[in-house]
């Protein structure tokens, strides 16, 4: 099945709220409860801020594509950028016991989503995220 929703927008943080709105509504449409909708939205938001900051180095006029679809009793998100790729071993996030700013986004994405796959490809990077219905996000310890 093709993607039900495709969004193309520039890497400008002004559009973060627009993307959040679309993702949250799509998650609700797919059957997630209110809490899960918030979590999925946060994960996609954090992925997009990583693209803006790390792939595009805060350039605000670069292309980003977001694809959404329902599959296997869950929701799949693909984010595509054409910026600087990151090696898997460099995607480490931060130690949670280390109280300092930064490095939180990747941790949040991994905690929230059921599957996370990053593919640095020829000329583009793809981040594939999947959240299965019923897989709850645990907070705290």
């Amino acid at each position: 099945m093709d993607y039900a929703v495709k969004l193309s927008f520039p890497s400008d943080p002004r559009y973060l709220g627009v993307v959040r709105g679309a993702v949250e509504r799509f998650a609700a449409l797919t059957g997630f409860d209110e809490e899960d909708c918030r979590w999925i939205t946060l994960a996609v938001h954090e992925a997009l801020t990583n693209v803006i900051r790390h792939a595009y180095h805060n350039q605000h006029d670069q292309p980003v594509e977001l694809r959404l679809r329902e599959r296997d009793e869950g929701m799949e998100v693909v984010m595509v950028d054409h910026g600087t790729g990151v090696k898997q071993e460099e995607m480490c996030g931060r130690e949670l016991d280390d109280v300092r700013p930064g490095g939180l986004g990747l941790h949040m994405i991994r905690e929230i989503m059921s599957e996370t796959q990053y593919l640095p490809l020829e000329g583009r990077n793809e981040l594939h995220l999947f959240k299965k219905r019923g897989s709850k996000t645990s907070v705290g310890e």
Binding site: R14, L16, L42, T49, I52, V99, R100, G105, M108, G140
Partner: protein, 111 residues
């Protein structure tokens, strides 16, 4: 995003309204650090009642405020977290490092 600072006794309150994300967290960070580093306030209380959404860059701004307050021997407190803001702080496991209160009165009266 709207940010207002006001004085209540020996406490400085920062009222934040709007989402704290990559777009506007630099403004929140700037005001918090200005109060702590330049004005050297004794107690800084951040009112998050009007914040519906906060992301990792927003959390990072609060963590930086907390760390600077410790280095300046001042107090840094939060109150009025929405369920979404509380969830984000819990997910990042940082909720325990902050002084978090339910209401302005509780934050002002904290010993």
């Amino acid at each position: 995003m709207n940010i207002v600072t006001r004085q209540q006794g020996n406490s400085t309150l920062v009222d934040v309204q709007g989402d704290i994300d990559l777009y506007n967290s630099p403004e929140v960070r700037k005001i918090i650090l200005e109060e702590l580093k330049e004005k050297k306030v004794a107690r800084l209380i951040v009112n998050l009642t009007g914040v519906r959404y906060i992301d990792s860059s927003g959390v990072a701004s609060l963590v930086e405020g907390l760390k600077v307050s410790r280095s300046m021997s001042s107090r840094f407190m939060l109150y009025g977290l929405s369920p979404a803001a509380r969830e984000v702080l819990e997910l990042s496991r940082l909720i325990r490092v902050f002084e978090v209160y339910g209401t302005e009165q509780e934050a002002l009266q904290a010993k």
